[in-house]
Amino acid sequence: MKRDDLTNEQEILNALKNEYTMDANQRSRVLENAWKRAENGEQGIAAGKLRPSRSPSYRIHESVRRALPLAACIAVVLAGGLFAYYKLPRVNETQISETTTAVSDTVSTSDTTTTTIASLTTVKQGSDAFRTTVNSESRTTVSETTTTAESAESTMTTQASAAETEAEASAEVQTVGTTAATMLTTTTTSTTAKTTTTTTTTTTTTTTEKSEEFIVTDADLYVPNMSVYAGEQITLTVRFGRNMEFAGAQMYFVLRDQNLPNRMAQIHAIRADIYEQTADGGTQQVETLGAVDHGQMLAACVTAQSGNSILTTESVIYLDVTIPKDAQNGDIYRLELFEDSKYAMADDQTGLFRTQFGDIKVVG
């Protein structure tokens, strides 16, 4: 419409009056609806009736408006569920934290449990059969071992009184940090439980005869439990749970799939900060050799130069490893420590000094 046409602007506005005016049919329809609604409003409240004769478009509008909040809630819940299912790692963090708490409680309340580490260490020297028992049973769950430890506490108290290294062991354990204490005790409690059954057949008279030997138990070294993805590169931090005497001062590490012993994670590098105990009771850092290529670095070795010394709990070993790309969700890798390379590469489950610690779970 051009400006010239607007000379008749008022005429157009007058013509619009027809558009803004109801015709006879509309008037009677609106009046009828108004009366119906008024009557149903008066009588329908008592009778519980809904107001009728809404226009179809209004009814659709009302239906959509009423359904919208519920639909939005359902959409949000579904979206959250789908996100949680597909995007979040499928590992139950709650379970892990609960387990950790339970175990740390055990640590704080039972000194007698920690003293059994020492007695166990000495007992262990004389019995290969006992070592086998420890290795095979060390995979029991934490909750089970905690319960068992409580039930076996009284037994262990009496046995621990006979151990010569009781005071030393308890003191060492107390120096471990919070996280370390958790990991340490996870394995400690399991060991304690086994001791109750083993010491019935193995006398404690064999105590300290071979205590000078290098020996590794589940409680001596630890790595944190971790959740990883297939193909992910991680750095494992290995610490000593107590001062350890190393004759050869060589440690071989392998990260092995617990279901497929032939499958191992590739170790890229090994670094170590090793400290030894000096004659006057202090500590000094020991020069170490770096990574040693051993079988395409599926096993790595660290060598402390000093040899035949007591390595302290300050010592830390770092392992850079890559989880296999074909690892499946739910696979568990555990770090294994060997004193001898011939055991390190074999999938022989009965390696003499073989031990396992830390659960590296594959998720996603």
Partner: protein, 162 residues
């Protein structure tokens, strides 16, 4: 009861177009405007409302229908409805009318209502001022500006007068 119904029928005849025009200018949809009008009259009938004067009843009706329309329009579903009735005509005059109605519908409320009531429905400035509860001079100014906006809009310009 019959007497009361007769009096309300007269009331309805007096004000039906006023309520419908205001509703249509907000809702831009013929059926919704009817529905809203029926709601307003149903409230009067149901509550048996009485008014002091013609001006009072008009002012009450305009306020009531305006509030109902605002409630509907602010909902996202209604705000997306943009369906002015065509009345089945397709000639040039119908197109011009449609353009004019669209332009009026897009105006700010303070200009649209005086224009519809005064310039379209034919109420006087004084009557419109009482219905909208404002001054006559304000109504005159707003109608003038509304016409200006309408002219500019129909020429193809933007509505900058709001």
């Amino acid at each position: 009861m019959e007497d009361q119904r007769d009096s309300y029928s007269q009331f309805y005849e007096r004000n039906a177009n006023l309520v419908y025009a205001v509703a249509l200018s907000y809702l831009r949809h013929r059926e919704d405007a009817e529905d809203c009008s029926a709601d307003v009259f149903a409230q009067v009938f149901e509550q048996k409302l009485t008014f002091e004067s013609i001006e009072h009843e008009r002012a009450w009706l305009v306020t009531a229908v305006r509030n109902r329309c605002r409630n509907r329009v602010k909902h996202w579903f209604q705000s997306r409805r943009d369906e002015m009735p065509e009345n089945g005509r397709s000639d040039e005059a119908a197109v011009q009318l449609r353009m004019t109605m669209d332009a009026i519908a897009e105006m700010p409320e303070k200009y649209r209502l005086p224009l519809v009531l005064c310039a379209v429905q034919g109420y006087s400035t004084a009557e419109t001022a009482k219905m909208l509860q404002t001054n006559e001079s304000t109504i005159t100014t707003r109608i003038s500006r509304a016409r200006k906006i309408l002219r500019k809009k129909l020429e193809g310009g933007e509505m900058n007068e709001a």
